[in-house]
Symmetry: C2
Subunit: 640 residues, 2 copies
C-alpha cells in the first residue's frame, strides 16, 4: 500500500494551527490536521482578539462570523487601587485600550471564548474540505532523503492507541501548545527570560456586582491581593487572580486554591463593592513561567508556532494574537516557496521574524507589570487625537519622556500595532545594499511607511462603484503582494505611470516573470489576480472620483485592475489639511505619489519613488530579486 502524501501535517487545532490550516487550505494545499482533543475548546483558554488581529481576521473574511457571537469589546482599561486612609478600593484612572495616537481601524479588544473563535476557523476549513482528525496525536516524525519532495515522515495515532497512520509530507507544523511533543523530540530548549514564575487562578463566570467597571478591563490592587477583570460575551466576566509567585517566601509551583477560596479573595479585594456568582463556567489554576523556544525550526521542514514557542503571563492578552501572526507569517512563505515564486531560503525568515516578536513580547510582559505599578500618564502627556479636528495640529508636539515612550510602546504592543520586523530580504531599510536613491524612507522624511511594520489604514472611494472603502482591506489575505501605486495628480504623473506600465510589461520584469500559466482561462470578473497570483495592483489618485476615467488614465496592464482604482477624496481627521488624505498618511507628496509595496501579510516591504523612465520598475525588480527564484530585470540578486 502506498503511503499517503500531504503538503503539510498540522498538529494541534488551537489558534496557530487553525489559522495556518485555513490559509493553506484556501490556497489549495493538501492538509492533514490532527488534534488530541475530541472537540474544540469547550471552556476557558484565551479570549482576547487585539485590534491588529481583528484587521487580520477581517482580511481573511472571518470578522463577521466572529462578531456574530456578540463578543465584549474593551475600549478602556480602568485602574483601581487602595484608598489612602480609608477602606476599600477606588478608581485611580483609565487608559484607552488602544489610544488614538495609534491609527487603528478597530480601537478595541474583542473578547470571546476561544472555542467560539476556533469554530469560525473550523467552519471555514470545512468549506475547503479540511476536517480536523480527532482525537489523534503525533507519535513520531523523521526528516529523511527517502522522498525528496515529501521529506517528512510522520506517525500519528488515535489517542486510544488502537489506530495508527504513517504519512509523508513536505512540512510538519506543531501548534501543540506549551507541552509540545515535536519540540521535545527536536530537543529544542526553552529559555526563561523572567526568573519569576507565577501561579494563576482564572475564573470565567456570570456575576452580580455593584462594581461599576465590571464591563471594562480592570486591574485591581488592594491590600487583600490583586485581580484582573476581563469582560466577556453573554454577561460573563473573567477574573485573573495571582495565587502565588516565585518571589513568595513559601513558593510552591503546585500551590492551588479552590473556587470558593478564590471567590472569597475576590470579595475581599473588591470591597466595598459586593460580588456574587450566578455561575462559574470555568475555573483553573496553572503555573506560568515566561519561556521562549530557542529555535522555531531546525531544517525549515518541521516548524513550530504559538504557545509551543512562547509562554508568558496571560495578563496582556497576547498569546492567541501572537499565535495568529506566527501562522500568518509562515503560511504565505510556504506558499511562495511551494508555488515556485520565492527561494526556499525565505523560510529562514519565519524564525528570525517571529522569534524577535516573541522576545519583544516577553520583555514587554515584564515592563507591562512594572508600568501597572507606576502612575498613569495624563492625556496631555501622551498627546492624543482630540475630538475636535481644530485642535489636531497641536497634538503630539512635545518631546516624549522615557515614561511616556514606554507607555506608548506598551499600548502599541498590546494593540498588535507594535509588531516591527527587522530589516531583511523582505523589509528594506535605507541600509539595504541595493542603494538606489529611489527607495524612500521614514528617516529621510520621504514616507511615513516603515518596512517591517503594518501599512497605515486609509479610507478612499473606489472608482468602479463609488463605495467608500478601507484601502488596507481591499486585497484579502490571498498570498499576493499588494502594490499600492499612489498616482498623485494624474496631470503630474501621466508620463511616470505610462513608463511604469511599460516597465511592468518588459520581459524579465518582476511582473512578467511571474504571470499566471492559466492567464487565458482567468474569469473575466477576477478582481485581484487577473495576470499573476503573486501581485495585485491598487492605484490611488489624488482626484475626485467622477474625474477618474480608469481606462483613459491607466495603461491596459493597470486598468485591468478596474476594481482596485481609488479616489483619494475622503477627509481624514488625522490629516485635516490634506487634500489627499491617503497620500498624506503614507507621507507621500500629494502631487507625485509613490509606490508602496506591501507583503501578503500587510506589512510594508519597501516604498519606491514614482518617476518617469524605468527607475521605479528597476527598483522593484531589485527588491523582488532578493528573494524570488529568478533574477529579474537583468539585475543581479541583491545580497543581504
Amino acid at each position: 500500500m502506498s503511503i499517503e502524501r500531504y503538503d503539510i501535517v498540522i498538529v494541534g487545532a488551537g489558534p496557530v494551527g487553525l489559522l495556518l490550516s485555513t490559509c493553506l487550505a484556501r490556497w489549495g494545499y493538501k492538509i492533514k490536521h490532527i488534534d488530541m482533543r475530541p472537540v474544540p475548546t469547550v471552556t476557558g483558554r484565551a479570549d482576547g482578539i487585539q485590534p491588529r488581529s481583528l484587521d487580520l481576521l477581517r482580511n481573511m473574511g472571518l470578522k463577521r462570523a466572529i462578531m456574530a457571537n456578540e463578543p465584549a469589546k474593551v475600549f478602556e482599561v480602568a485602574f483601581w487601587d487602595p484608598k489612602e486612609d480609608a477602606k476599600g478600593i477606588h478608581r485611580t484612572g483609565t487608559w484607552p485600550s488602544c489610544p488614538k495616537f495609534i491609527d487603528a481601524r478597530y480601537p478595541f479588544t474583542t473578547l470571546l471564548h476561544q472555542g467560539l473563535i476556533e469554530r469560525v476557523f473550523i467552519d471555514d476549513l470545512q468549506k475547503n474540505g479540511v476536517k480536523i482528525q480527532r482525537p489523534w496525536r503525533i507519535t513520531g516524525f523523521n526528516t529523511d532523503a527517502v522522498d525528496k519532495q515529501y521529506p517528512v515522515e510522520v506517525s500519528i495515532s488515535h489517542v486510544d492507541g488502537d489506530e495508527q497512520e504513517t504519512i509523508r509530507a513536505k512540512y510538519l507544523f506543531s501548534g501543540e501548545g506549551a507541552r509540545s511533543f515535536v519540540r521535545e523530540q527536536l530537543k529544542v530548549g526553552i529559555t526563561h527570560k523572567d526568573p519569576i514564575a507565577h501561579v494563576w487562578g482564572v475564573m470565567d463566570g456570570v456575576v452580580r456586582t455593584d462594581f461599576p467597571d465590571i464591563k471594562m478591563k480592570c486591574t485591581i490592587h488592594s491590600d487583600a491581593g490583586s485581580i484582573m477583570v476581563i469582560p466577556r460575551e453573554a454577561n460573563m466576566v473573567r477574573l485573573y487572580i495571582q495565587i502565588a509567585s516565585s518571589t513568595d517566601p513559601d513558593w510552591d509551583p503546585r500551590k492551588t486554591a479552590t473556587t470558593e477560596q478564590v471567590q472569597e479573595t475576590a470579595k475581599k479585594i473588591m470591597a466595598p463593592y459586593y460580588i456574587e456568582w450566578d455561575r462559574v463556567e470555568w475555573y483553573s489554576v496553572y503555573p506560568i513561567g515566561q519561556g521562549i523556544a530557542d529555535r522555531y525550526t531546525l531544517d525549515e521542514r518541521v516548524f513550530m508556532g504559538g504557545d509551543c514557542c512562547h509562554t508568558h503571563s496571560p495578563k496582556a492578552g497576547q498569546g492567541m494574537n501572537t499565535a495568529f501572526l506566527d501562522a500568518q507569517n509562515l503560511a504565505w512563505k510556504i506558499h511562495h516557496v511551494e508555488s515556485g515564486f520565492a527561494d526556499r531560503s525565505i523560510l529562514k525568515s519565519y524564525e528570525s521574524e517571529r522569534k524577535l516578536i516573541a522576545e519583544n513580547l516577553l520583555n514587554f510582559d515584564a515592563q507591562y507589570a512594572k508600568l501597572f505599578s507606576q502612575r498613569q500618564p495624563s492625556a496631555g502627556e501622551i498627546g492624543h487625537v482630540s475630538k475636535s479636528a481644530q485642535d489636531q495640529g497641536q497634538a503630539e508636539q512635545h518631546e516624549d519622556n522615557d515614561f511616556i515612550k514606554t507607555f506608548k510602546a506598551s499600548c502599541e504592543f498590546t494593540s498588535g500595532y507594535g509588531v516591527a520586523y527587522n530589516e531583511n530580504i523582505f523589509n528594506w531599510s535605507e541600509n539595504h545594499p541595493a542603494k538606489s536613491p529611489l527607495f524612500l524612507s521614514e528617516k529621510a522624511g520621504t514616507t511615513t511607511q516603515r518596512p517591517g511594520r503594518i501599512l497605515t489604514p486609509a479610507t478612499v472611494t473606489r472608482v468602479a462603484d463609488a463605495n467608500v472603502v478601507h484601502l488596507e482591506q481591499e486585497i484579502p489575505l490571498n498570498g499576493s503582494y499588494r502594490l499600492y501605486l499612489f498616482g498623485g495628480k494624474p496631470s503630474v504623473t501621466k508620463r511616470a505611470i505610462v513608463d511604469f506600465a511599460s516597465g511592468l510589461k518588459k520581459k524579465g520584469s518582476f511582473y512578467q516573470t511571474y504571470t499566471r500559466s492559466d492567464s487565458d482561462k482567468v474569469n473575466y470578473h477576477e478582481r485581484h489576480n487577473p495576470d499573476s497570483l503573486f501581485f495585485t495592483f491598487n492605484t490611488i489618485f489624488n482626484a475626485q472620483r467622477p474625474d477618474i476615467e480608469v481606462r483613459a488614465l491607466l495603461p491596459d496592464i493597470l486598468a485591468r485592475y478596474f476594481d482596485h482604482v481609488y479616489a483619494d477624496d475622503i477627509w481624514d481627521q488625522r490629516v485635516p489639511d490634506a487634500k489627499a488624505a491617503a497620500h498624506a498618511k503614507m507621507g507621500l507628496t500629494e502631487d507625485e505619489g509613490g509606490v508602496v509595496v506591501v507583503r501578503p501579510d500587510g506589512y510594508v516591504g519597501c516604498v519606491v519613488k514614482l518617476v518617469e523612465g524605468s527607475g521605479t520598475v528597476d527598483a522593484l525588480n531589485q527588491y523582488f530579486s532578493s528573494f524570488c527564484t529568478k533574477s529579474l530585470g537583468g539585475v543581479e540578486k541583491a545580497q543581504l
Copy 2:
C-alpha cells in the same frame, strides 16, 4: 375536534409578511404563516434595501446576516445621455444615492436578491419555532362574533387542493402581493394615481462590458431607448428596460419582448460601449400601473400591507422598503393592544399612517420620473456636508429654490428618511390639545426632532463599558418605547432628574402603571426591560465618560438601566462646535437637555422639557394617556 386558534394568520411570505411574522414571533405570539410558493423567491423580484431599511434590519439584529451575502452597495447614481452632434452616450453627472444633507448611518443602497433577504427572515423565524406552511393558499375568511377573542375564521388549503384547514385567529394579515385574494374578498378598490401604465422588462445577469459605470446605479437615455442599471451581488447586474407605455400610439399592456430582443436594445442604447451576457439569471416582462388600495383594513382585524396595497414602478426601488415599514408599523401596534398596554383604537392608525406614505410614494414616483429628465443640481446648490469640517459652517446657508427642494425631497424619499407621519395620538405636534408649554417643537426652535419622523442618529460613549455606540440602535426593535433622557450637565439638572425619577415612581404614572407582572423574576442582567415591557430609558449626559458615576448621578429607578447610560463626548462633523454633539443634534440645550420619546419603531413621538418639579412626568402622562388603556397621573385622557 376543537378548532386550532392563533394570534394571527399571515398569508404570503414576501418581505411584508416575513417582517411582521418575525416581530410577532419574537414577542411570543402564536402564528400561522402560509405561502403559495413551494420555496422562497428563487430569482428576480425586489432587491434594493434603502438606508433607512438597513437601520431597521440592524435594529432587528438581521443586518449581519444580510451583509454576509456580500451585497452590492450603491453610493452614487450616474446619468448618461446622448451626446450632442455625436454617436452614443456620455455621462452627464452623478448624484450621491443618499447625499450628505441626510444624516444617514448607512448612506448607500444595499442590493441583494430578494430570496436571500427572505432566507434571513426565515432562519430567524425558525429559531422562534415558526415554519412557513408551503405551498398553501387562503380560500376563505370571515369575521364573526362566534368567538370574541378569536373573531376571524380562516380557511386555507394546499395549492393542490387535497388538504384543507379551518382555523381561528385574532388577526388575519394579507401580504399576498398585487393579486390579493383577501383584498378582492373585502371588495377594497384600487385607485390609480398616474393614468400612465408601463410594461417593463427586467433582466438579471452577469455581463461583460467596458461601460465604466456598470457597478453603479445608472439611468441611461439614448435615441434607442432607456435603461436603468442596478448592480447586484456576485458580479450580477439588473437592467430595467421600458418596453411600452400607455402613451405609445400602439399601446398594448400585453406587449412583450424576448430576452434576445431586450439584449439587442440594450446594446444599441449602450453604444459606443459593448455589452455581452455571460448568463441571464432571470428575465421577466410585466405591466405595471400605479395603484393604491382604498383601505388597508375594514375592521382592524383583517389587515393588508405591501404590494397588496400599493403598486408602482420599480425604478425608485421602494416596494420592499415600503413593505418592511408597513409590517413594522402594524407589528408593535398589534403587540401593544394584545398585551393590554394600548387601546384597540390605535390599530386605526396603521391605515392612516401607512396609506399616507403610499400616497406620497405614488406622487413621488411621478415626480421622480420628471426629475430624471431635468438637469441635475450642482453640489453648491444642494448644500452638502463638505469633506473638510472647516467648511461645514457654510453649508446649507442659501435659500432653496423649488427645484432643489424637490431634489432634496426625492433623495430623502428614496433613502427612506423622508417618511413623515402626520400628527396623531402618537405624534404630538405643538397643535396637540394637551397644550402644555413643556412640549418642545421644531417650530419654536426648542428641538430639531419632529414627531412622526425618525430620530436623528448620534454617536455616544456607553458608560458601562466605554464602547462607542450608535445611540439610535441601542434599543432593539422589541416593542418598547424608547425614552431618551438627555441629562445635560449633571450639575445643572441634578434636581430635575431626581424629580423626574420621583414622578416615575408615583402611583399612576405611565411608568408605574405598566410595570412587569413578573418583575420579581426578571433576570439580573436584563438590560432593556427590567421594570416594564413597554419602556426603556436611555440617559445621556453632557460629560466625559469617566466623570459619570451612574449610581451617584441617577436615582435607582434610572440607574437600573445601567447599560443605557451614555456620555455625550464624541465629536461630530455635523455639529463641529458642539461640546455635546448628541444634545446639539437633537436641538436641545447642552446644559439642560430634555426628554425625547421615541416610538418602538424609531419615530419620534414627542419631545418634552426637563424641568424641576413634576412637570416633565406630567407631560409624559398626558402623552401616554392619549392611547394607553388606563388614565395616567390623574390626567384625563387627551382627545385628538
